[in-house]
Subunit: 349 residues, 2 copies
């Protein structure tokens, strides 16, 4: 396409390859000053400066109130979870609100209550904020949350148990190695399907509710067990994108087993009906961990005891037999899990 006339499209915001391509064109313009220990080069879950992690995320989910949550809870969880996925404990959140004229004040108050409750649940404090109002369109709302976290108190001990892998205790994507077990903290696809079920043009009956929740307590429990090498929160682009980032940044392969993937029946049914790949659907209350083999069972058991982690499973392992991500299907065949080009469900976060 003629570059001069190229326009932004929905795929470019969907967490897949199209977005990565766009980001490269933008970030090349930002010079590095040596401030960040982990920054734009790594494109990890959060940036790191000394003992501190920093992250930011825009939230544009529609509808802004959905089964199991709303954009307020989603924003706090999203930020706390990004901070967790690098190995930090979120402590403070900055909240930027952009609202369209005509938005019901009552809904705004509801959303702020959700923000407060989710912050309380995660143990973080909303310390500052900003509000802008733009002209009336559909009366929508966007929340952008930035968060800072401190290196998790258990991270150094955990790192010792993980054999001081990678030269840093932070849970970098690049640290996975052959033999590591891959653990997911619960069922996949709930958030995307819950949002989609209320979307105009898709609307269908389901009892599925979003999984949106802060996963910091799950991380804490896993780190205490020890041996966690890397963590991801499989939001945009889903489990597929998260696993492919690990494979790409480490240079190793990841094999998962379809039969071990925890999934609610309603999600399975909806995915079949709509022709959506459940591995590509965004989740908002899950953590995927790479754990040294000898600690995998212990980490799994510790997660299962935490609220929201009851259905955790070991879903696969890292291997040097191939590159990329491969799934052994229910029928015993092997299928390549490509990174998604974009999200099958736009604006679920």
């Amino acid at each position: 396409m003629d570059r001069e006339n190229e326009k932004v499209n929905m795929m470019m915001g969907a967490g897949g390859r199209a977005m990565q391509d766009l980001l490269k064109k933008l970030t090349v313009n930002f010079s590095r000053r040596g401030v960040a220990d982990i920054g734009l080069k790594e494109l990890d879950d959060s940036a790191v400066i000394g003992q501190w992690a920093l992250t930011i995320d825009g939230h544009t989910v529609t509808p802004y109130i959905f089964p199991g949550g709303d954009i307020g809870r989603l924003s706090v969880a999203g930020t706390v979870n990004d901070l967790a996925a690098i190995g930090s404990e979120g402590i403070a959140i900055a909240l930027g609100i952009i609202i369209e004229e005509g938005f019901p004040v009552e809904d705004l108050i509801k959303i702020s209550k959700s923000v407060g409750e989710a912050a309380e649940e995660a143990g973080v404090e909303v310390v500052t904020g900003d509000t802008k109002v733009v002209e009336r369109r559909e009366g929508g709302i966007y929340l952008t949350t930035a968060g800072i976290g401190r290196m998790h108190p258990y991270l150094m001990e955990n790192w010792e148990i993980a054999g001081r892998r990678g030269g840093t205790p932070w849970l970098l994507d690049s640290k996975v190695r052959p033999g590591d077990a891959i653990i997911i903290s619960g069922t996949i696809g709930d958030h995307g399907i819950a949002v989609l079920s209320k979307r105009e043009g898709y609307g269908f009956e389901t009892e599925i509710v979003s999984d949106v929740m802060p996963v910091n307590h799950i991380l804490k429990s896993a780190l205490r067990a020890g041996g966690v090498v890397s963590a991801k929160d499989p939001t945009r682009g889903g489990v597929s994108n998260a696993l492919n980032e690990w494979a790409e940044k480490s240079g190793f392969g990841i094999k998962i087993y379809e039969e071990r993937l925890p999934m609610n029946e309603g999600v399975k049914a909806a995915c079949e009906m709509l022709g959506i790949e459940p591995l590509e659907i965004g989740n908002e209350g899950k953590l995927i961990l790479a754990v040294v083999r000898e600690k995998a069972e212990e980490v799994l058991e510790s997660i299962k005891k935490v609220k929201g982690g009851e259905r955790a499973e070991i879903i696969g392992e890292v291997t040097q037999d191939f590159k990329g991500v491969v799934m052994e299907t229910l029928s015993g065949g092997l299928r390549i899990v490509d990174p998604p080009l974009g999200d099958p469900v736009p604006r679920i976060c």
Copy 2:
């Protein structure tokens, strides 16, 4: 108005009273965990946690490219300036982009270049970011920037010179006291008038360009001279809002002199033509300082030597003779400067 049917309106995002009222309804839902030393209670320029400052701002300016700058430069300057106004030196920025489908990729690249250049100018690093794409409307863009800063190296010395005012070296709004001089770093109203001149329905000829720039170098120079008690960046709601915040939070009065207000002729002419109060127009490259009387001239001279500070002036003083803000007009009369209800020019930042 019936609360159940109350809708968000443009005034609620305009930095004046209507916005303050809305914010109170929202922030009451966020509990305090003792994380922030300066937080939502103070509603100052940035939050403070230990030696660190944290701030966030959404930017929705339209048009997104305007005389003298664009939304990229504006976002970085806005965040660096909020960090400066509390007394910190910005070190890292997190950039959240929300773009509408159909936005020209070329403009997005231009904006990212402006982000990079402004960051370089201010000495900060963009360490992390996020991009979301929403459905096509007018092909617009919103940037939300969060920033973290470290306590300015000169802040403790400056505080000694300011007589350890207020029990903290941070430049809190509440610290101004009778006798303090009020200094502005340059001309007022340029940003708002420059943006407005390109706005559909307003379009007029002017040579005025936006003042958008990071003011951290001006702050540094002032702190080095010593005796700075408080600082504000007069963005939404303009100088009027900034002075009224000082008056309200300190409980003292502020008197300014119209004849001392630096203003470009083009801004004067445009304000007369449009019937806009220049004190209420947002600026994006100015700093207002409250300085102990005996250091005022020295601080003024130090600012005048910094690029962008050449037209700095002492525009008034803090007094115990009255509460609120009063201006002595050119004709020698006194006029109350009320806090603006909203911004006279919507979406200039």
